[in-house]
Amino acid sequence: MADAGDNKSVTGPGGEPEKPKPPGYFKGESMTRRTAFMALGQAFGGVAVAAVTLPVVGFAVAPMFESPQEEWQAVGPLDDFTSDTYRQAVVTAVRDVGEAGKTTVYVRRGSADLDEDPEEIIAISSRCAHLGCPVRFYPSAGSFICPCHGGVYDFEGKVTGGPPVRPLDRFQTRVSAGQVEIGPRYSVTSQLEPVRTRDPAAFTGGIWEYLYPPRPTTPPAP
């Protein structure tokens, strides 16, 4: 490093006096000491901000990546369910929030008239595929009807009227020791093909599978 005494104004080639060199100048330097320290200061500041911000953001986002525990809840003996109408069952969708965490499931056996396996148990979610209000099954109409915005679904849960964008979600089912058990939720396409569960209002099937991505921890469709 050159001395401060070297910083005399030198006459440039054009005869005009050149700017005096800053203290600490040496020949061939690419940035001044001041610029280097400024960059260093900014870098330290950036590291300090990131060290606080990144953990905090991660802390707030973390619950999105928690895998839901696979739960099976018994809803009654197999003999209680028929193929021509639904029985209501109440299961807990979210734990530890009291009544708000419970949801109604409509359960029936597979119907031969609809080309379904009679051994199969069909469990349809009461969560409307429009915006998530609770739908109700009206046996006299053979339809599910949503009180909020007038969505109507047929006996299989396919949309027959109103704003919903896809059929009603379903739950996986199994029979264990004579009891019907309700498992994880899944969504269906308009042809009732199972897909990974989506939020209400999200289209399913085709390109929509990419436009409305499922959350990373969603279990695979059955």
Binding site: M64, P68, V94, V97, A100, H130, C133, D199, Y212
Partner: protein, 268 residues
């Protein structure tokens, strides 16, 4: 010396015209001295902060001819915000952001706490009043053309403040955790999720997972009383700074005087 001069300490008084005497009108020395006491105190602070030019500029700034009652809508909005902030702070002393206790704490505020119903009522109705007054303020700005150059940035800040107010309404609605607020939030989250690609992730962030649950309520509470109010305080500061810096506009029905005669008068 009028009443106003007695009440406003000298450094904050409207600056006098050159040659005009501001202080000392020949009263008795004791009274004069007593009068000086607040002046001394304000002067002591002013000498150390240099705040008086800023404050006199703020308080005695020029407003255009034709300024009318519609120009108070901004202040009305600010007043509504301050009412929300104050009542909100005191409601927070009794509210419990837990899914099992929130509703009970709300009923406790309404039924048991002294004046609880009044304070909570102010907060609920104040929210509605704030949204109404914001739109009136926005309408005034729009119809008077007050959003035009050089005030576009203030319009943009105002729109951000409007969105933040809507977020306050959305997050505050869940807090009582009754059936109405629960289902309204279910629908609001699903509307959020209906946006392609980012929608599902944004809804997941707000709900802290797939469903509205235990974590959602404290999250909404934190957004409602810490995150968004902090942003709003900062942006209201910027909004007011620009109002003072740029001044207000005259109403559109007043035309600028462009007659050569008046111009000549100015040039003398």
């Amino acid at each position: 010396m009028g009443l106003r001069d007695a009440l406003i300490p000298a450094p904050l008084r409207k600056p006098g015209k050159p040659g005009e005497r501001v202080n000392g009108d020949g009263a008795s020395p004791v009274l004069e001295r007593a009068k000086e006491a607040p002046v001394d105190l304000v002067g002591w602070v002013d000498e150390r902060t240099g705040a008086s030019p800023f404050l006199t500029g703020l308080l005695f700034r020029k407003v255009p001819k034709g300024t009318n009652w519609f120009y108070t809508l901004g202040s009305a909005t600010l007043f509504a915000f301050v009412v929300q902030a104050i009542t909100g702070v005191f409601l927070a002393m009794f509210y419990v952001p837990s899914t099992t206790e929130a509703y009970d704490s709300i009923t406790h505020i309404t039924e048991d706490v002294f004046l609880g119903q009044f304070v909570r009522g102010l907060h609920i109705w104040g929210a509605t009043v704030m949204v109404i007054v914001i739109f009136l303020h926005m309408g005034r700005t729009f119809f008077f053309g007050a959003y035009k150059y050089p005030r576009e940035l203030n319009w943009v800040i105002g729109v951000v403040l409007l969105i933040l107010t809507m977020i306050m309404g959305l997050t505050g609605y869940l807090l009582p955790f009754d059936n109405r607020s629960y289902w309204a939030t279910v629908v609001a989250m699903n509307i959020t999720a209906s946006g392609p690609v980012v929608g599902p992730y944004l809804a997941d962030f707000l709900r802290a997972g797939a469903e509205i649950g235990e974590t959602t309520l404290p999250r909404f509470y934190a957004i409602h009383m810490l995150l968004v109010p902090g942003l709003m305080f900062a942006l209201i500061g910027a909004h007011l700074y620009l109002v003072v810096k740029l001044g207000t506009t005259a109403p559109p029905w007043l035309r600028a005087e462009t007659k050569p005669k008046s111009l000549r008068e100015e040039q003398v």
